[in-house]
């Protein structure tokens, strides 16, 4: 049974948008994967955190470089191989053309939700005040310099730099 009681109040409720819980809160996301499906969790969480007024840093390392490499950022792929969650028989998932098809489908699903492609998502995150950092060792391994990376990347930094940066932050490895 539902009761719909209406009460007239003199002191009306007001939302606490800037409550102390979020002030001083800091989130660091380590993005280490280069596939389309694994790029999005970090981007979506970063965007959500920024929308909540949380200081947000993304650190791209190893395969995560694909997300900020100008040459690859718009061409991330999704592979159904070795992913039981696609419920596709293993023998089928490895057939030629399957990765391209799965990638195309996933891109369409993402776009249908009005979620932007990777480069535009990075624009959104930097416009919202998010900080992007690239891993020094990954840059050296791939012989990449800052010029090869998305322009919103603030710097290529070492693992120890990241330790300083993430002091006191909630850190997620993706």
């Amino acid at each position: 049974m539902t009761t719909t009681a209406t009460a007239t109040v003199s002191e009306r409720p007001k939302p606490k948008f800037d409550d102390e819980e979020t002030s001083g809160r800091k989130l660091c996301l380590i993005c280490s994967k280069g596939s389309l499906d694994m790029a999005y969790p970090g981007l979506i969480l970063a965007n959500a955190a920024l929308g909540e007024g949380i200081e947000t840093h993304l650190f791209f390392t190893f395969w995560g470089f694909e997300i900020i490499n100008k040459k690859t950022m718009d061409q991330l792929q999704f592979s159904p191989v070795g992913n039981p969650a696609t419920h596709m028989p293993t023998a089928v998932s490895g057939l030629p053309g399957m990765q391209a098809m799965a990638t195309r489908m996933m891109r369409q699903q993402i776009a249908a939700l009005d979620v932007p492609p990777v480069p535009e998502f990075l624009d959104l995150i930097t416009a919202a005040g998010g900080h992007l950092w690239a891993c020094r060792m990954s840059a050296d391994m791939n012989k990449l310099t800052q010029d090869d990376l998305y322009e919103g990347v603030e710097a290529i930094i070492s693992a120890s730099d990241f330790m300083e940066l993430s002091a006191g932050a909630q850190t997620l490895f993706i």
Binding site: T4, A5, T6, A7, T8, V9, S10, R12, P13, K14, P15, F17, D18, T22, I44, N47, A48, G51, E52, G53, L113, D114, V115, P116, L124, A127, A128, G129
Partner: protein
């Protein structure tokens, strides 16, 4: 359901203080709601954003997300963070008299 008095008018609000009746909103109420969250004056720029939120809500039945306010409404994300600091999506919807957006992006 609670009835509160805002800008001299009796309006329905939820437990957080958000208006629950779309038609009870007006600019005088918006100015009061803005003050609640530290925005002392609603500029024409604020009002343009609020109008988009309301029109889009009326057309689609749900509050546009921050991304939609920029991609469909044409407002610059950086400006939205200046106009409605820190938590623009929630603050905009509060002042515009529509529910909080439910979308993730």
């Amino acid at each position: 359901m609670t009835i509160a008095t805002i800008a001299g008018q009796s309006v329905h609000v939820n437990e957080e203080g958000f208006l629950t009746e779309y038609d009870e909103w007006n600019e005088a109420i918006a100015a009061e709601l803005a003050k609640d969250i530290g925005i002392d004056e609603l500029t024409p720029e604020h009002l343009a954003v609020l109008r988009f939120l309301r029109e889009d809500f009326e057309a689609n039945g749900e509050t546009p997300t921050l991304r939609r306010v920029s991609s469909v409404g044409g407002f610059d994300t950086k400006r939205l963070f200046v106009l409605f600091p820190k938590k623009p999506a929630k603050k905009m919807s509060y002042v515009a008299g529509v529910p909080k957006p439910v979308g993730c992006v």
